[in-house]
Symmetry: C2
Subunit: 244 residues, 2 copies
């Protein structure tokens, strides 16, 4: 049973302060992971104030790239710093976490399609490790390097690893309806089209509408929840919104 857990960058960092960890939030999530009884777990975290700040400073998005190695050093470097903090919090609690850096493991073709090498991730799971990936840069034909978001990695990993469960922890308790209440279950985009509207462009790596569409396309069920949902999700419950 393979589980992919995404930790939003906004959850584990202070999004408004450049390169600042939210140590309390990360510690709480790490406690939940350490306390869970899950066998094959892959963790993916976003960039928060480590990734987005540096990507914005260099004008790099998922589509607009850079050939400057200072951009690579700043953005990829900041993400490796955040990744090391996540790993350290997990290791300190006995979680056998090891890093996988997407810049080293993936590429985009000229159309932006991502190829992520995942044989090493599957092998790490078989050896009892918890691979921890992160939003990062990725080499992109004709663009130099562009951003790859944690969400995009989650969707790719869920498919290539044939994951059984996908959980996305963000700062909202689920997909919200027009009255701000959590939608318990989404089985087609029409269920929430009115609430989410047509706009996909609420942040650099895609808003909730795009996320819902991608999660609906997965063969595995996905749950969208906030930090309070991590423990219940890993215990097998269905916190927040279930998208299936």
């Amino acid at each position: 049973m393979t589980t992919v857990l995404k930790l939003g960058g906004s959850v584990i960092t202070e999004k408004d302060s450049p390169e600042t960890l939210d140590d309390d939030a990360l510690s709480a999530v790490a406690d939940d992971v350490a306390g869970a009884d899950v066998s094959d777990l892959v963790v993916v975290h976003g960039g928060g104030s480590f990734g987005h700040h540096n990507a914005a400073a260099h004008g790099v998005t998922t589509e607009n790239g850079s050939h400057e190695t200072t951009a690579v050093a700043d953005i990829h470097g900041a993400m490796k710093t955040l990744n090391e903090s996540v790993l350290a919090h997990l290791r300190d609690r006995g979680v056998p976490a090891v890093p996988v850096h997407p810049l080293s493991a993936a590429r985009r073709d000229a159309e932006g399609a991502l190829t992520l090498f995942t044989e090493q991730v599957a092998a790490m799971l078989d050896e009892g490790f918890v691979p921890v990936l992160h939003g990062d840069l990725v080499v992109h034909d004709g663009e130099g390097v562009t951003v790859v978001s944690g969400d995009e990695l989650v969707v790719d990993l869920a498919d290539t690893l044939d994951a059984d469960r996908v959980g996305l922890c963000s700062t909202v308790p689920g997909v919200l309806d027009e009255d701000g209440a959590v939608v318990a279950r989404i089985e087609s985009y029409e269920d929430v089209a009115d609430a989410l509207g047509g706009s996909d462009a609420t942040d650099v790596t895609g808003g909730m509408a795009a996320k819902v569409r991608e999660l609906l396309a997965l063969s595995a069920p996905a749950n969208v929840f906030d930090a309070d949902g991590v423990g219940p999700f890993l215990a097998g419950e269905s916190p927040g919104t279930r998208i299936d």
Copy 2:
């Protein structure tokens, strides 16, 4: 025209002092790379006092692995620190160097056979970057993580990238004959069998005899030289020993 250049760990670090750079030596090599007119260059560096010290402390070799994340943190962490120093020296001189960490990009099967993802390396070359790989840990079926040497990566990259030239910079000026003189050319192992003898086990990642056998098996010609040979090699000359 694709060139793979290996920088021995003993060349760029103080091998007897744990995790200590040989800044003068690394700066000289970086100057040579920056001054060279080569189009598609891949650099691989060894571990020197960053890798070997930590691997020995945890008892990890190319065959004997570990499932301890402290081993991963120490060995892989030290190698990323060395890699960042190599990248910084190259970037400071205008070389568009970007990192590729083998732990994120490779795996070994139960028999020890290495699978290294190289599509991202080829794409980086196409975008004008100089990918810089390094000796590292790699997930290994049944063993947890084991060591992958820079030399093993060079051989794999030379084949998968269909390299035109391979250069190995170590602390000796080439393959030496029984009188200590550099052998100019080796075309079969018999040329040097008496000088190299039967022992392959002179260091943890294989001695010169094993190296010569591996280089003879490549389709690309390889040169073995010391730090003085880096500039001439990148200028198209044939310093040290040519193995072809």
